[in-house]
């Protein structure tokens, strides 16, 4: 009987939740198609189809689509999805609604890498920042884990360690920027976060990191469910908390590090999307991750679409756009009691 009633309760929720996932995927597809169509040069639906399936190198529309729109769309979807998953993992790991994946020092490390690169090597082209950003992110995350990770009952420390390392790195950045005007010029554009410079080559280079990150994320998902009951309960259920932290942390670093290398720091998606997903998704971490990925990709593509529509001036970028829109959305959600507590 007990099993019966629980299965009834389970199936009672199921159609509802799959409906929301379906809506999310539909919205993602629509925003992806729209971002192929819209832009300075409007491309017709028929032309998009022709460009995708029978590419003609002499048609301007086809070149725009393959060289600019498609990489940009793929980049936005990938980054949004990864940030969504990373955010869900981070909030589950720390059980703190304030936790954003940048908290592991990834964004600060990447930013410091970029700033040092502009000063030491004189780089100014954002396409050259990938490796500097990736290396900076990895170093910062390693430092955070050395200080706060891999300890039983260590999530509080992980947060503090992450905040300390981030603060230290941002202080170094501030100092360097005040000394070097030329790097301030590069930095203040890079920090907006956007997909202006994404190419297929960049996506292909970063893809392996993303795939490993996603695999680790889903491997950690099951144990993270147990962690939601509290660390001691999780331990008594046989979860090795220290190892789980390391696994989840590695996934977050891989996902965020590649994102920040591709598009610069995008703060809001990782923070807000898990809260959005928690309203509609079941509590299972793996479902939550999938929902977060879909919602994150949709939001990112929409933000990029709005940012480059030119409505808000030529400086607007997807990262800033998502933050400016996302803030009021989050507040509205909180006020309508739609946000479920962690």
């Amino acid at each position: 009987m007990a099993a019966d009633s629980s299965s009834v309760a389970f199936s009672g929720h199921r159609p509802h939740r799959l409906m929301w996932l379906g809506i999310g995927i539909l919205a993602m597809l629509i925003s992806a198609l729209l971002s192929l169509r819209l832009g300075v040069r409007l491309i017709g639906w028929a032309d998009i189809g022709r460009a995708l399936f029978s590419f003609d190198p002499d048609t301007a529309d086809h070149i725009v689509l393959w060289q600019i729109r498609l990489p940009r769309m793929v980049g936005a979807l990938l980054c949004g999805g990864c940030l969504g998953v990373a955010g869900a993992l981070m909030q589950a790991l720390t059980r703190n609604p304030l936790a954003d994946p940048g908290l592991l020092g990834v964004n600060a490390g990447a930013a410091l890498g970029v700033v040092i690169c502009t000063i030491a090597l004189g780089l100014t082209d954002p396409a050259q920042f990938i490796w500097a950003a990736l290396a900076g992110a990895a170093i910062a995350a390693a430092l955070v884990f050395a200080l706060g990770g891999n300890a039983p009952s260590g999530t509080g420390r992980l947060i503090l360690a992450g905040a300390a390392v981030s603060a230290l790195f941002y202080a170094l950045i501030r100092g360097l920027l005040l000394v070097s005007r030329s790097s301030l010029e590069v930095y203040r554009v890079w920090v907006l976060g956007g997909f202006d410079n994404v190419t297929f080559y960049m996506v292909a280079t970063l893809m392996p990191f993303l795939i490993v990150g996603l695999v680790l994320a889903f491997a950690a998902g099951f144990s993270l469910n147990a962690l939601q009951l509290g660390e001691s309960t999780a331990q008594s259920l046989g979860v090795r908390v220290g190892f789980l932290q390391l696994l989840t942390g590695a996934a977050i670093v891989l996902l965020c590090g590649t994102t920040v290398a591709m598009a610069g720091p995008i703060a809001f998606i990782g923070l807000i999307v898990p809260h959005l997903a928690r309203v509609t998704a079941p509590t299972d971490m793996r479902w939550l991750s999938i929902y977060s990925a879909v919602y994150g990709a949709t939001l990112m593509a929409l933000a990029d679409l709005i940012a480059r529509s030119g409505m808000f001036g030529s400086n607007m970028q997807a990262g800033v756009m998502s933050a400016i829109i996302g803030g009021p959305v989050l507040i509205w959600l909180v006020r309508s009691k739609g946000v479920r507590k962690l």
Binding site: N96, P97, L98, L147, G148, A151, S153, G156, R157, I159, L160, A161, A163, A164, V165, A167, L168, Y170, A171, L172, R174, G175, L177, L178, V179, R181, L184, E185, R188, V189, V191, L192, A267, F268, L271, I272, H275, G313, N315, M316, G319, V320, A323, I324, G326, G327, P328, V329, L330, I331, V334, R335, V339, K341
Partner: protein
């Protein structure tokens, strides 16, 4: 060893450990203050203060000591203490180690308004009133949006934190955007103001921050008692007979006021409000809100940062660059030390 101090119907329990550590921090602050007074091209120090005050020194020495060095040190200590206490009370009230005045959006609002002022007026002249207005407006808005009319607790910490994040990140992104839209000189001015500095502080600044602190001290001393209970769950607090809604509103008001005072004399110095509470709590080894110790730690970090900024005379850097450079390693060292002992 615990002493009990009784004063009529009031009594306070003081652990000897805490007293000793508090005195140690105070002593360290005095020494650091003395060293900061000594620092500079002219050979003057804390020992000359009295003769300078009596007017027995020559005009230039007197001006350097009383109009420049002393106000700067006093402002550093006062602003650091205000930031430290502000952060510590927000962390206790919201029961979240990551909380700080930033949570209520004060800093984000102040920074955004400051950037806007520089963009509109072209210089950093009118920044302060704009920043204060922006910060206070944002704090009020966040409080209003987070206020729960139906519940008994007034402000739900979880709700306040999320609303605060929403406001902070939107305003932060707007600042970034505004900064990217302007020319090089204005962008540099903005970066300078956003970092927070103690350059060229005068006696009026010192009077402002210390007057404000003195006015708020009785409130803070009284706040220790309810804050000790607020770190427990809402039900417990109700059980103690405390009125949560009013109390939380009062605490938020005091915290924002402290942050506003500190920002108005030192700019938005990063990290001080965040680091003072955790460091104080770890040094004292207690989970209780430790306002006095947090004030001392905040003051030490800020004074140390400003002294470091002054010592690096090759490039003029504002103190805000060094607050995290000094504060973060202290926090890291404490984390590692605790890790070794297996505490926490």
């Amino acid at each position: 060893m615990i002493y009990t101090v009784r004063l009529g119907s009031l009594s306070v329990r003081l652990a000897r450990r805490h007293l000793l550590i508090g005195m140690g921090l105070l002593l360290a602050l005095l020494i650091a203050g003395g060293m900061a007074l000594q620092l500079g091209q002219f050979d003057l120090g804390a020992g000359d203060l009295w003769t300078a005050y009596r007017g027995e020194l020559d005009k230039i020495s007197q001006m350097i000591l009383l109009d420049h060095r002393l106000p700067r040190v006093l402002v550093a200590i006062g602003a650091g203490a205000a930031f430290g206490v502000s952060g510590a009370i927000f962390q206790s009230m919201l029961r979240n180690p990551m909380a700080s005045p930033d949570v209520i959006g004060f800093n984000a609002g102040a920074s955004c308004a400051a950037v806007l002022a520089i963009l509109v007026f072209g210089s950093a002249r009118f920044v302060l009133p704009w920043a204060l207005t922006g910060g206070l407006l944002t704090a009020a808005l966040v409080l209003l949006l987070a206020w729960d009319r139906n519940g008994k607790s007034g402000i739900d910490p979880y709700r306040l934190i999320l609303v605060g994040i929403g406001a902070s990140l939107t305003l932060g992104a707007t600042s970034d955007l505004l900064m990217s839209m302007t020319d090089e000189q204005r962008a540099a001015d903005m970066a300078q103001w956003l970092t927070g500095t103690l350059n060229a502080r005068n006696q009026a600044d010192a009077a402002l921050i210390w007057g404000g602190l003195a006015a708020l001290t009785p409130v803070l001393i009284w706040l220790q008692f309810p804050l000790n209970r607020l770190i427990m769950s809402d039900d417990f607090v109700h059980g103690f007979g405390l009125r949560l809604a009013g109390l939380r509103l009062l605490i938020t008001g005091v915290g924002v006021l402290l942050a506003a005072l500190a920002v108005s004399v030192a700019g938005p110095l990063p990290f001080v409000a965040f680091v003072a509470g955790p460091v104080a709590r770890r040094v004292l080894k207690t989970g209780a809100p430790v306002l006095f110790a947090a004030a001392l730690v905040g003051a030490l970090v800020t004074l140390g940062a400003d002294t470091a900024a002054r010592m690096l005379s090759v490039v003029q850097l504002p103190a805000g660059v060094f607050t995290a450079v000094i504060g973060a390693p202290v926090l890291m060292w404490l984390l590692v030390a605790q890790f070794r002992k297996g505490a926490l």
